[in-house]
Amino acid sequence: MSTATADAAAPSKDGILSHARHIVSENPVTGVSFALFALFLLAAIIGPFIVPYDPLASDTAAALQAPSAAHWFGTDQLGRDIFSRVVVATRLDMIIAIASVALVFLAGGFAGIASGYFGGWTDRIVGRVSDTIMAFPLFVLAMGIVAALGNTVTNIIIATAIINFPLYVRVARAEANVRREAGFVQAARLSGNSEMRILLGHIAPNILPLMMVQVSLTMGYAILNAAGLSFIGLGVRPPTPEWGIMVAEGASFIISGEWWIAFFPGVTLMLAVFCFNLLGDGLRDLVDPQRRT
């Protein structure tokens, strides 16, 4: 596969950038979401080096200050700069979201395609596993997994991947199922492709556009889930900057008027989820050759 795929894909590769430009120009919302995503990525990569204050350094003299020129987002009860903490937290939240989605994309996607394509026992086992997961309230399940495995970032990633597993299985299974008797799959059999190669080389790329929509939706959900776990004290532990914890810590101050402590990390969280959800259409168009005319 290696040389051949590369060889065949070569002619279309030069078009990818101009194709991306076309998609963005066609749909401004996609452009906004791409720009927002780039901003979050930038913050995740270089954020810790450019922030004005040390996100962990407390300064009780400057505690609970409202947003000002010195502290754009204000300071919290320990006098830590909220802007710096929000920016630095981006990396951790993005790592959790991207890693868990990548994990479930591979595992759930493959299990789903295989169960849709082979049917029979594969389908029964994968189906029952995902039904079992679906039977639990998903957030409670994630809480249980993290509580049982221990309070680490790796376990948050695993828990988030597990609760999203059925969503990927269902989409991939349904799509693979309708394609398994398609003409091009029969033709691939006649060309001497093995079943596994048909699965990965012929069917998987065809359901990629739909999976991309799923990726963007669950990415937002994964961030929310990670923040939620931290909010109830099961995720990342303070004083590590993380949006969920920051909202949790700030929540008790809203009543006394210090709204900014919870507000800014909350808005950032919302923007991140919003951005990932909007990204879906753009990602789908980007990986769909039918859009490349």
Binding site: D7, P11, S12, Q186, L190, S191
Partner: protein, 574 residues
């Protein structure tokens, strides 16, 4: 206008379309789908609109019904139906006209029916909706309607669901729905495409008969010039959104005036011609003659099929439930899709496999292709019994490259994410002898040349290719490994006639050049006659008749073959 009409046409026409231009808004600006179309239709008249895909024939009729999708609009011209200006009338007026005054039937009857409602109830719904019946007498009237469309045992069929009925029966139900309110105009958009030829005849006879009975005007939209000529008073030929010719059915066949009509006529398969006659004259004369038929080499035949059987278990809810509770119930008799057929194929020979849907011809071809395991029987290819190798592992067998296939639907059979070159290269990559890089590309280009696909098209994706080009890619892929046997499963069924003409000639020339054997699966006897040396007629899983194609066509022995032959629509001139 009346001045030009003969005296018996004093009445204004039922439908009059003047200078109709329809535009569609697309990404690259407005596209004109229909340009300056004029047509008139009198009461009780049947008009055929004929054209290939993209000719605007469907758009014209959709505009008359005002059911264009949102991107389309009438840019110019008027439509007058029974004195009403349909083009500018408010939606409420048009809605009142639709169904009651003008009605439409579509290509796929099954899609037009609600799958989970009894057909009788669906007819009742329409009758009650248009105040043709009261809930009290609706059932009675619905059965009457079923009788009118010649459905046998209407009281019983009233309770049937669409999936329990055959395609032809469903189309009759759709016709019943369309005619329930006695409309004055019926538009039939490819009503018989996808139906068997004997069913097509029954459905078309019914439509024409009902139209005559009720003095109803009919517009028949079709790609089949023969069908239009056989059933219509007048025929209008369209090309690229324009009307190129309108004349009586007979005149159009006797003396077609427009070059496009002549080309379309030439391309329509019919009795007494050869493959080359399908192509436009200037191309046909340039091509090599068809070549003499070589008598098949004596000795070992390439393929021998012996007593091939494929059974499917019948599902019965009652008995499987009973078995679940431990009761000893005999399993229902399995259904035999292919019932013990035997035949042989010589090297270099082409064999036609003809029959209507459900006759087992596709199941047979799938078994020969080793995509499906037979229940019993032998498939002996060059002395080796291939039925011993299970279909699951056949992909890795060295025999795989010897037997290849061209599929029915060129779009469906190409991976949408592969370029044409990648699709053609697929068998070479899996089974070729370590070809890669420039050698692979050279081989792909050579194959593209063989099937007449210009090499710039190789880097395109399927959705950027036309139907004919996709068919060529499919053929190139099938012959990439120099197979000895190619099964062609209705390779031209999804193509326009002019493209079909080219593809059939290509297939013939490739066979001559590469010395392959063909099994050509088709429902179209005329096409089989031109391409195949021998033909097998199948019905209900068995072989009805077998013999030299010319002999079978000229003097069919079996009653069923005669029925098939007589159902092919014949234009009045032949």
């Amino acid at each position: 206008m009346n001045v030009h009409l003969p005296a018996n046409h004093i009445q204004p026409p039922l439908l009059e379309v003047q200078d109709l231009t329809v535009e569609f808004a697309t990404r690259r600006g407005a596209v004109r789908a229909v340009e300056k179309v004029n047509l008139t239709l009198a009461k009780g008249e049947t008009l055929g609109i004929v054209g290939e895909s993209g000719s605007g024939k469907s758009v014209t009729s959709y505009t008359v019904m005002r059911i264009l999708d949102r991107a389309g609009r009438i840019a110019e011209g008027t439509i007058t139906f029974g004195g009403v200006d349909v083009g500018n009338a408010p939606e409420s007026t048009v809605r009142a006209l639709r169904g009651r005054e003008m009605s439409m039937i579509f290509q796929n009857p099954r899609a037009a029916l609600n799958p989970i409602r009894k057909v009788g109830k669906q007819i009742e719904d329409v009758l009650i909706e248009h105040v043709q019946a009261q809930p009290s007498d609706a059932k009675e009237k619905a059965i009457e309607v079923l009788k009118a469309v010649r459905i046998a045992r209407p009281e019983e069929r009233y309770h049937a669901y669409p999936f329990e009925l055959s395609g032809g029966m469903c189309q009759r139900i759709v016709i019943a729905l369309a005619l329930a309110c006695r409309p004055q105009l019926l538009i039939a958009d490819e009503p018989t495409t996808g139906l068997d030829v004997t069913t097509q005849k029954a459905v078309m006879d019914l439509v024409v008969e009902l139209a005559r009975e009720r003095n109803m005007a009919t517009i028949l939209i079709t790609h089949d010039l023969g069908l239009a000529a056989a059933y219509c008073d007048r025929v209008m030929v369209m090309e690229k959104g324009r009307v190129v010719e309108t004349a009586t059915a007979e005149a159009i066949f006797r003396a077609p005036r427009h070059a496009y009509t002549r080309k379309l006529m030439r391309a329509t398969p019919r009795g007494g011609i050869t493959l080359r006659d399908l192509l436009p004259e200037e191309i046909a004369t340039e091509m090599a003659p068809l070549g003499v038929k070589v008598p098949p080499a004596s000795g070992q035949p390439l393929l021998v099929v012996e007593n091939l059987i494929k059974e499917y278990p019948r599902q019965s809810a009652v008995s499987s439930l009973a078995r679940m509770f431990g009761a000893k119930v005999a399993a229902p008799e399995p259904f035999r899709a292919v019932d013990g057929i035997s035949f042989s194929l010589a090297k270099g020979e082409s064999l036609g496999l003809v029959g209507e849907s459900g006759c087992g011809k596709s199941t047979t071809s799938m078994m020969l292709m080793r995509l499906l395991d037979p229940t019993s029987g032998q498939i002996i290819f060059k002395g080796e019994d291939l039925s011993k190798i299970p279909a699951r592992t056949f992909a890795r067998s060295p025999w795989r490259s010897r037997i290849q296939m061209v599929f029915q639907d060129p779009t469906d059979s190409l991976n949408p994410r592969f370029t044409a070159a990648r699709s053609i290269a697929d068998p070479l990559l899996q089974m070729g002898e370590n070809v890669s890089g420039p050698a692979l590309r050279a081989r792909v280009e050579e194959l593209a040349r063989l099937v007449g696909l210009p090499s710039p098209f190789l880097d395109r994706f399927p959705h950027q290719l036309s139907g004919g080009q996709k068919a060529r890619v499919g053929i190139a892929r099938a012959i990439a490994l120099d197979p000895e046997l190619v099964v062609l499963d209705e390779p031209t069924a999804a193509l326009d006639v002019s493209v079909q003409a080219v593809v059939l000639n290509l297939l013939h020339d490739l066979k001559q050049r590469l010395g392959m054997s063909y099994i050509f699966v088709s429902h179209d006897l005329e096409v089989v006659r031109m391409l195949c040396d021998r033909v097998i007629v199948m019905r209900a899983g068995g072989i009805v008749e077998e013999g030299e194609t010319a002999a079978v066509m000229a003097a069919p022995k079996a009653e069923y073959t005669r029925e098939l032959l007589s159902s092919i629509p014949h234009p009045p001139i032949y």
